[in-house]
């Protein structure tokens, strides 16, 4: 494995009496694609959201690019610039056009001028197959198009890590393929990716490693082959039975 990008040590998260994460240890290397699977409510989304501190961990340590992001002195806004995130419900800025969604952060944070930011936005839109939507209103896009714009928006900050939180769960089935294609391309280009998903096909094809989370713990980890073909944990076997034999 190459350089370590993310190192999670004994991460715990609870909401009052509800212990969502009960001690997670996880290392993610550069250019690695890690897919997190598990039943609903298992804590996999919470784990992902802790990685850029959208959720405040209750205890434990998360180091991203050698920065301890739990440290009060850490500049979390700076760290987040290098961690792109894609949400289940896209969360495109409803008050802005497609172009402005993509150019906002680079212009505000990276000193891009309008022309530069727009040129970059056009390139990114082309890479997700939406070059004709540059001037479109967010409201006029389909779900699949919105999610691809959201990916372009995240990429505009040139992150070296991308977090995907169930990026296809809110899409109509015929839209899923387009989004997964874009994600596969990213993986091929060597992006470090952490993906929470129910798309087992994508996991098998693209993941370097698959992690099975249930009840706030990592119960099994390994290559897609190990996890899908030779699951050892009983709950994982159970889970795979349910999702693969529908």
């Amino acid at each position: 494995m190459s350089d370590l990008k993310i190192k999670v040590t004994d991460l715990k998260k609870s909401y009052g009496e509800n212990h969502v994460l009960k001690g997670i240890d996880l290392n993610i290397g550069a250019n690695e694609v890690v897919v997190i699977i598990g039943p609903s409510g298992s804590g996999k989304s919470t784990l992902l959201r802790c990685l850029n501190r959208l959720e405040e961990p209750t205890s434990g340590q998360i180091i991203v690019d050698n920065v301890d992001i739990g440290d009060p002195k850490a500049d979390i806004n700076r760290v987040r610039q290098d961690i792109g995130m894609v949400f289940q419900h896209f969360n495109l800025f409803n008050n802005l056009s497609v172009a402005d969604n993509i150019t906002l952060a680079p212009m505000e944070l990276k000193g891009f001028n309008k022309a530069g930011a727009e040129a970059q936005a056009k390139k990114l839109l082309a890479s997700v197959g939406l070059e004709d939507k540059f001037d479109a209103k967010v409201q006029s896009l389909s779900g699949g198009q919105k999610q691809r714009v959201a990916i372009a928006r995240a990429l505009a900050m040139k992150p070296d890590i991308m977090l995907f939180d169930e990026p296809t769960s809110a899409l109509d089935p015929e839209m899923v393929g387009d989004v997964l294609e874009v994600m596969k391309d990213l993986a091929k280009e060597g992006m470090t990716m952490v993906v929470v998903t129910h798309e087992m096909g994508f996991a098998k094809e693209v993941a370097d490693r698959v992690i099975f989370v249930d009840q706030g713990k990592i119960l099994e980890r390994g290559t897609p082959e190990e996890v899908f073909e030779h699951p050892k944990n009983e709950r994982l076997q159970d889970f795979l039975n349910k999702v693969l034999n529908v």
Partner: protein, 478 residues
């Protein structure tokens, strides 16, 4: 975050300070032999604003005539009765002439002149009424005005004569109740009643004055002795040369002098045009300044309420709770009369009015600003933050533009409410539309017509404000 909080607090303080400069304080009078005399805002026939908006009435004509006779000058300050008495007590003015009865209680604090007028409570009935005696009131309904000697008198004898008392807030409504026949009689101070009849109220006085009382001119105890002496001498001179009689006749004379004021709608508007116009301007001015400050205050408090900081959230909720929970009328009176008695510094009515509206309307604004921001999907903030945008930038670029869209109808609504609420400030004596109406009615007793004019004026104003707001809203959505 703390810096941001401090900045906002500083801004609020500056705003409140700034209001103080909007209306320059009246410059103090220091010329020799000029006395500052406090009086009531409106107490016809003793003091009231005429159709030229000049203060006239028995008290006013008398003090001016005495000043002329004795060779000094007066500056009249219509402060309102209670404020005038307080100002005299604290030495801010030299004397008070305000139809003030000479009582032992008041003598403890003030030195009074000789009685310049004797008043008493009389009973008045409708012109065609057969009632002439108190004993005829058995089982009947009698109208009084709250807080007057007439009300005290009626209540003290109602058991004896077996009548029921209904209470009204102003003379005009009380008279109306008798002329329409709901009540058979009313009790009122004799000069006030005489003046009302002179102004065309269709009532007649049927009893001799009871509970007689003397009105006196007052100075602070032990001070302004020469002023008091001059008043007494002047009064004696005026009584001797017939001027006193002329003045009282002018306001109380039994002859119903052919009304000089036209009583048609057009006539009333023409007569009171300049007073109405001044009131109109004051209302607009109050509304605009209040809207600006209330909006700024509301947005700041609303933003504090959504900031990720426990202290600012608590502060915001507390401010909203207090100022939304307090009736506007109580808040206005509290700030205008309560705060100065705590701090010792007088607040001009206009400033007190603006502060009142800013706090009250601002609290409502804060509540819907908070609600508007909270109505924006949480994912918008998360997406902005995940890109590395700091909280303030995410708020400005992403959340607020969406929140404001949600808030626009509430803003328009609040502007209209603010405009209407300026009318409540008439209680602290601001000469806005409503107070102007009250003063005009106190003079001519044309309640129905004047209130109709005032009501229509508010409707016109609100229509204009609504058009303006809708136009802005259309521009925003375009």
């Amino acid at each position: 975050m703390k810096k941001w909080l401090l900045k906002s607090l500083g801004l609020v303080v500056c705003l409140i300070g700034f209001i103080g400069f909007i209306k320059p304080a009246e410059t103090a009078q220091a010329a020799e032999k000029t006395y500052t005399i406090g009086t009531d805002v409106t107490f016809p026939p003793f003091e009231f604003a005429n159709d030229q908006n000049e203060y006239v009435g028995i008290d006013m004509d008398l003090i001016r005539a005495i000043a002329k006779d004795q060779g000094f000058k007066v500056q009249i300050k219509p402060l309102g009765f209670n404020a005038a008495v307080q100002a005299l007590d604290s030495g801010q003015i030299d004397g008070v002439i305000a139809g003030m009865s000479i009582t032992d209680e008041r003598k403890a604090k003030f030195d009074f002149s000789k009685s310049y007028f004797q008043s008493g409570v009389v009973m008045a009935v409708a012109q065609n009424s057969k009632i002439t005696k108190l004993s005829q009131l058995k089982g009947q309904r009698v109208a009084v005005k709250t807080g007057t000697a007439g009300a005290d008198y009626a209540n003290s004898i109602k058991a004896k004569y077996g009548f029921k008392v209904v209470t009204f807030d102003d003379s005009n409504n009380m008279y109306q109740d008798v002329t329409t026949g709901n009540s058979v009689a009313c009790f009122e101070d004799s000069p006030v009643m005489q003046y009302g009849i002179k102004q065309g109220t269709k009532l007649k006085i049927v009893t001799e004055p009871a509970e007689k009382g003397d009105y006196g001119f007052a100075v602070k105890k032990g001070q302004n002795k020469e002023l008091l002496a001059a008043f007494n001498t002047g009064l004696t001179n005026l009584r001797a040369n017939g001027q006193y009689k002329k003045i009282t006749e002018k306001y109380l004379g039994a002859t119903n002098t052919k009304k000089t004021e036209s009583r048609t709608f057009i006539g009333l508007i023409k007569q009171n045009g300049s007073a109405l116009w001044d009131g109109f301007k004051e209302t607009i001015w109050l509304t605009l300044v209040s809207i600006i400050f209330a909006t700024i205050f509301g947005i700041i408090v609303g933003l504090l309420g959504v900031a990720p900081n426990k202290f600012s959230k608590g502060l915001s909720s507390t401010l909203i709770y207090i100022f939304r929970g307090m009736p506007l009328l109580v808040l206005a009176l509290f700030i205008y009369t309560g705060v100065p008695s705590l701090t010792g510094n007088k607040i001009p009515a206009f400033v007190a009015g603006i502060i009142t509206l800013t706090l009250n309307e601002g609290a409502y604004t804060a509540a819907f600003v908070k609600g508007g921001i909270e109505a924006v999907d949480n994912g918008q903030m998360e997406a902005a933050r995940s890109l590395g945008l700091p909280y303030g930038k995410s708020m400005r670029k992403v959340i607020l533009p969406q929140g404001i869209r949600i808030m626009v109808p509430s803003f328009i609504n609040q502007f209209i409410i603010t405009l209407k609420d300026t009318s409540i400030l008439s209680v602290i004596g601001l000469l806005e539309l409503t107070q102007t109406g009250k003063i005009i009615i106190a003079r001519n007793l044309e309640g129905f017509k004047v209130w109709t004019i005032i009501a229509l004026t508010y409707l016109v104003l609100i229509t204009l404000l609504t058009w303006l707001s809708n136009w802005v809203q259309r521009r925003m959505n375009a």
